[in-house]
Amino acid sequence: MTNNLYTKDLNIWFGSKHVLKGIDIEFPEKKVTALIGPSGCGKSTLLRSFNRMHDLVPDARIEGMVSIDGQNIYQKGISVTDIRKRIGMVFQKANPFPKSIQENIAYGLKLNNLDASPAVIQKALEEVYLWDEVKDDLKKPATRLSGGQQQRLCIARAVALRPDVILMDEPCSALDPISTLKIEELIHQLKDQYTIVIVTHNMQQAQRVADKTIFMYLGEVKEEGATIDIFNNPQHEITKNYINGHFG
């Protein structure tokens, strides 16, 4: 099986508003897929549907399916926490827990009854190239780290659970260029092991990190394909206008 994450006729309503319309897409395994499109096109909504974050929204209605390894994550009786262990998420603004650096990693491990030994924590921090910067401060509050470090800690927190997929919702939008570069390098490293889906408003970033790009507009997928094709040879006029910055 080459595709471990795909959607089939996925529709989402918030109240009476039809936000996602018949989404059928696949995310290639161990590759980076970028979701791009103007604000309000539904790309974040789509991303958040992959680990059932809409469960918290009282008037959200979801139809169709999101499948990981052949299992529909919206099937009745399925464990939501198990889904979220397998599909990790990194948010727009770094949101470390108000705990120590070490506990930030350990918390998810303990919740899922996984080994939370110092060695495991060290490995997770090494994977995001944070270990050398924080190894003497593991007991310090995570909120004392810089914004970029906090975001890498949040990635480490997701990585520590050994998910299949990591979702990233504009992970660099609140970061300076240097921190952004570090995160992008990190994404390059991580795709050897994880399927990554990233929402971004930054066209250069999409081209730098993504193997596949999906362009969304008004709740629909307008165009999808290899990043290089989407940016060099867009099939739709609207895609062309968007990536050339005519609207956003």
């Binding site: 948010f91 918390y107 919740l111």
Partner: protein, 285 residues
Amino acid sequence: MRLNFKKITPVIEWGSLLLSTGLVCFFLVVILYEIFSKGWSSLSWSFISELPTDGMTKGGVLSPIIGTVILTLITALFSIPFGVCCAIYLNEYAKNTWLTRTIRASIRNLSGVPSIIYGLFGLALFVQGLHLGTSLLSAGLTLGLLSLPYIITTTEEALLRIPASMREAALAVGATKFESIKDVVLPASLPGILTGVVLTLSRAAGETAPILFTGVAFYITDVSVNTSQEFMALPYHLYMLSTQHQSIEEVRPLAYGTALVLIMVVFLMNLTAFYIRYKYRKNDQ
């Protein structure tokens, strides 16, 4: 003339703000000075370690101190768990329906109900209805009822300040909703909750009206820590010494001393809250 006016306006604005601040501080200083200068002389170790004697004309205020402390403890034990849990339910679980909004508005309104009404309600419910009699327990529960709306409101506000992204972070690593609240939301909002709790309890500790019919006693010759017995409390002791005593002039220094002790008890509680918040801030930021 016009130019002059433009120059004067900021001075007036600044001056009126300063004047208001000054006036508030002035009255605060006067009150504290009045109490300290007149109460200081009667304050001594024996004053806080001895029982009132000779028809409360001599001796100390140990029994009112103990009464107030235990009373506040009962109030805390009753109001904190219920108040905090109720706030968590309203803020984290309850859907935003007209029923929730009505409940929330009612709770806000309850905090405006005069404390004497709580006293009457406590008399009807705890003393008579539940046959708890006039006792420490009845009075503590009554004060607990009085404190609930404040604790619920301040806790809800503390919870509201925690961004949704914090809750999502916990869910995203596999926490259930309850775990996310217990492990992330509550610890993060604890300083805010504690501030509300301590301010509420220090207010409750100084209340007289709600305990008047529910358990406070005029004069008891020994220290009672039995929750089914009547008790002495600092605010009522003060009220009684300054208005009801047969020789008011004679016991006036004792009244001021009692006022001083009451202020110190409340101040100590606030200091504890201040310290806890300071410790948490240091850990978090």
